[in-house]
Every structure is written in C-alpha cells, then in structure tokens.
C-alpha cells in the first residue's frame, strides 16, 4: 500500500511544486510569518518594559511556544489546502480522477494516498517555516533586546511533532473527503479558506492573552480526535459512484 501512496505523492508534488500558484503561496507564507514577527516584537517589547526585574526567559518562552504552535499550524494547514485544492480541482474538472479510479487502487489506498500527498509536504513546509520564524525572532527581536537566545519549552516539541501534525493529517483527510463527495469544490475551498483566515487572526491576536501553551496543545489534540472520528464517519459515504457523479466540473 505504501508503494501506491508514494507514487501518488510523487506525482502530485511534481504537478504542484512547478506551478506559479506554489511560488505565490511561498510569498504569501513569508508575509504571514512577517506579520507574526511584528506582533511578537510588539508583545515582547511591551513585556520587557513592564518587567524590568524578572528574568525574561520565564515570560517570553511561553510566547515563543505559542508562536511556534501558531506558525506551524497556519503554514501546514495552508499548504495542505493549497496542494489539495489545486490538484483536486484540476483532477475533478479534467476528469483525471475518473481514470485514476479505474486503476487497481482501492478507495482506501486512493484516499489515504491523496491525504498523504497533502500531509507530508505541508508538514515539512510548516516545520521549515517555523524553524525559520524561530531563528528570525531570536536574531531580530530577542537577541537585540535580551542579549541571548530564548529556546522553546517541551510543549513546543509536543506541538510540532504530535499536536499540529495530528490536526493537519485529519483536517487534510476531511478536506479531501468533503471535496470528493460534494460537487461544488470551489465552495468547500472558500469555506475552508475563510475558516483558516479566522484561525490565523485568532491565534495571532489571541496568543498574547493565553497563559498556558499546554492548554493549546491539549485543545489541539482534542480537535484532532474529533476530526479523526468525523473522517471515519464520513468515509462510509465515499463511493466511486459518488466521486464520479460529483465530478461534472
């Protein structure tokens, strides 16, 4: 099964990464990360002014943890949507999906392969952008103000390697599943992009108000579990017939 999944992954990446849409997405991501940095600088600057006695690592580290969580989630989910909507929209309108369903791939292999072809690259990109944002925060914001780097806490590692990937995996699967069983692919794209934009704003603007980054991670794991169950429930509705009939373009 892994072999078929890798074949689909390789093909989807080949199709997506060479496009103008992908380059535009990279530029957009850099803008979002820059927006996060500006907010971090403002928040950290304000904290340093009010706390002149306490060692800054204690109150800056939770902010970094939340920022790492937010950037990783936003970037990974964004790329997952981008890769998905690009490949699926084309596959549905050009009917290449129908040809793919005529191969010996089972529905499970097909769905899982497509989910992986969104999940793996988007998680890798999310990780790379998070790493870049973390370094940039320390180089341009923290070091000039504090005089040393401040590293993330254990919660960030749980977020990066467990919580965020779980959400991205199940959200990608759900997004793809909905696009397969609903005829209006564009409508689903718009709804998901709208939800993503609201999430970005909530995370960026609300991050400074959160006292514990662990709570964010636990909430995320809960959300991932709900998404996983939703996928299991909706998968029963997925048939080749439904996919073909919703692919009129």
């Amino acid at each position: 099964m892994m072999k078929e999944i890798l074949v689909i992954l390789k093909k989807d990446l080949k199709e997506t990464l060479h496009t103008r849409t992908f380059l535009i997405s990279i530029a957009l991501t850099i803008l979002v990360v820059y927006y996060v940095l500006i907010n971090l600088e403002r928040t950290i600057g304000a904290m340093l002014k009010t706390n002149t006695v306490i060692e800054p690592t204690g109150y800056i580290q939770p902010i970094i943890d939340i920022a790492i969580f937010s950037v990783m989630l936003i970037v990974a989910v964004y790329y997952s949507f981008m890769i998905n909507s690009y490949t699926l929209l084309i596959e549905k309108t050009k009917h290449s999906l129908e040809s793919l369903l005529c191969t010996p791939l089972s529905l499970k292999q097909f769905w899982f392969g497509k989910t992986m072809s969104m999940f793996i690259p988007s998680t890798i990109l999310g990780f790379l952008f998070t790493l870049a944002a973390f370094c940039a925060t320390n180089v341009f914001v923290i070091y000039p103000k504090v005089g040393h780097w401040i590293y993330p806490g254990a919660v960030s590692f749980v977020a990066i390697f467990i919580a965020v990937p779980s959400i991205v995996l199940f959200l990608s699967a759900l997004f793809y599943l909905l696009q397969l069983i609903i005829a209006n692919v564009r409508l689903i794209n718009i709804i998901f992009m709208f939800v993503l934009i609201i999430t970005i704003n909530v995370l960026i603007l609300g991050s400074s108000n959160l006292k514990s980054s662990w709570s964010l991670v636990f909430i995320s794991l809960g959300v991932a579990a709900i998404l996983g169950l939703t996928n299991l429930f909706l998968f029963r509705m997925l048939t080749k017939e439904r996919i073909v009939l919703t692919s009129k373009g």
Binding site: K3, E4, V7, I8, K11, K14, E15, H18, T19, I90, K94, H95, S96, L97, E98, S99, L100, L101, C102, T103, P104, L105, S106, T239, K240, E241, V244, L245
Partner: protein
C-alpha cells in the same frame, strides 16, 4: 470459453432516471466489439459499470470471469475514457511512468516506454508537457497508457471523438493492431458508424438504455439487408432480358424485377431459390456472370433500430 465481458439484464438508475434497462450483451475473447448509440443512450454508464465505477442496481456483470467489485480485476483491463484523464502539467513520459508505477509494472516492461511511444509516433514529444499536445496526440498517448500493464481487455470510450480524419485513421490502426497482432479484446464505444463498420466484428446498439441489436456485424447486415438479388448477365438486349423478367415474376417468392444495363435486380418476398432463378435465365439462353445479394449498411441498421423505437 469464458466471455471477456458478460452483462446480464443489467439495470441502473441515477436519481429517478432509468439509465440502463435490462442490458444484456456478451463479448468473446478476441472480439473488437462496437457499442453504438446516440448521445445519452447509456454507453458511458455501461462502461462505468464495467470499470467498477458504478454499481448496477440489478443484473450481473462479469469481466474476464470475475465480478467488477474486485480491485485486482482492473490489472487485466486497459481503458481510455471519454475524457482522456492525462495530467497536463506532466510530460508524456511522466504520465506513462505514473501509471506504470501504479500498476506495479516490472522494470523490464517499463523500459519499453520508448518503444511504445515510437509505435504511435510520439517519441519526439515524450518530454513535452501534455498540455501542448493536440487532441489526436493525447488520444494516442492515452492508448499507450491503456497498454502499460499489458491488459487482456481494452475498454475504449469514444477513442476517436474530436480527432481530425487522419488522426482517426491512426487511432483505428493502433486499435486494429492491438486486436489482431497482440490478441487483445476490445470493447469500443462510439457513435461513429463508419469507424465501427470498419473495425468491429460484433456490435450492440443501445438506445435510451435498452439494447436494440446485438450480434455479429456481418450477420446483422445480412439479416437487415433488403431482400434483393442482383443478377449480372452481360446481356444488354432489353427485349431478351424482359422475357426473363416476365418468367421470373411468375415465381412465388419474387415480388418484382427491375432492369438495368446488363443486370436484373430481383425483389424477393420470401426465401429465394437461387438455383431456380439461375435455371430460368439459362432456359432463356442468358448467361449468368454473377449473383449478388445487396447488403445493408450499418447506418441503415442503426436508423431502422432507432426509428423503430420512435
């Protein structure tokens, strides 16, 4: 011998609309089977059922002796659907390579990509993106893609639709080569009567979800032929031929005769005794150079079947 394809009383509804009604047909191994019908007759739905994309509401569908719900069965089937399903952002070679890998084709066969592309005249365009291909080139590439895993059965949905005449001829030649030289069974859906008449040995005609005609093309043409015999005599004297016609018209199965230069066309109204007719001519001293039975064209068969419904 197991049929390559066997549909037995297949019914299919989509929403409230009946798409197929009691569709029954059989395709034998080695056939080039033409599946004819006007737009919206149910051809594509039949193909989707054969390919396991749609589930029949009732009836049975066996492909190469197996049920269509088996995913592994599709390793034995090659296909070109109405929309070719090629990836525009990939080049010709990458499109083929994707399917080679999906089918898990051994490396030895994968090395034959160049040979296969050469066979359809696409060797020089293999590295170009498919988006730059003409419709004819796309169809040829789709046919090569259908053959990557060396299937036993080929399902082709309108393989020449939208292609210019020379492209149509090339695609037809490829199909004939696959059937005659490589022993593939071909199920070809089309509304191009000329194409079907040229390459198919068996046909089925579907209209409004029902099979109207099914069988060997030659027998169908023979059966649908107007009951007319054409006798070539080589005699041009009209009065001599008129005497023959007077005698012939007395035969119980002759409805009427028509004279043409050196020929007598006889309309029959029952089973004719050709030997008796020849004997009449011989008695009058008229030599017989040839006897031909007129044959209906596929267009005539098709028009009649569709008209009968209306």
């Amino acid at each position: 011998m197991v049929e390559a394809l066997l549909l037995n009383q297949v019914n299919k509804k989509i929403g409230n609309r009946k798409i197929l009604e009691d569709v029954t047909l059989a395709v034998q191994p080695g056939d080039i089977f033409g599946y004819l019908g006007p737009n919206g007759a149910g051809k594509t739905t039949t193909i989707r059922i054969i390919m396991g994309l749609f589930r029949e509401d009732s009836g049975t569908v066996d492909v190469l002796g197996e049920n269509t719900s088996q995913d592994r069965l599709r390793r034995k089937i090659g296909f070109v659907l109405e929309a070719d399903g090629l990836y525009n952002n990939l080049n010709g070679r990458e499109n083929l390579d994707f399917y080679f890998q999906l089918y898990g084709v051994p490396e030895t066969r994968r090395n034959k990509i160049d040979e296969m592309l050469h066979h359809v005249g696409l060797q020089n365009r293999a590295e170009d993106k498919v988006a730059t291909y003409s419709k004819g080139m796309r169809q040829k590439l789709a046919l090569v893609r259908a053959m990557v895993h060396d299937p036993e059965l080929l399902i082709l949905d309108e393989p020449t639709a939208g292609i210019d005449p020379s492209g149509q001829m090339e695609v037809r030649d490829i199909i004939l080569n696959l059937a005659h030289n490589q022993g593939k069974t071909v199920f070809l859906s089309s509304h191009n009567l000329d194409e079907v008449q040229r390459i198919c040995n068996r046909i089925a005609l579907i209209d409004r979800g029902r099979i109207k005609i099914c069988g060997e093309l030659d027998k169908l043409r023979e059966g649908a032929s107007q009951q007319e015999l054409i006798i070539e005599t080589g005699v041009n004297e009209k009065d001599v031929l008129q005497k023959v016609v007077d005698k012939l018209e007395k035969l119980p199965y002759v409805a009427g005769c028509r004279l043409d230069t050196g020929k007598i066309s006889i309309n029959l109204k029952g089973k004719a005794e050709v030997s008796e007719i020849v004997a009449v001519l011989a008695q009058q001293g008229v030599p017989v150079e040839g006897v031909k039975k007129s044959e209906a064209t596929l267009e005539e068969i098709y028009s009649k079947a569709v008209r009968d419904v209306e």
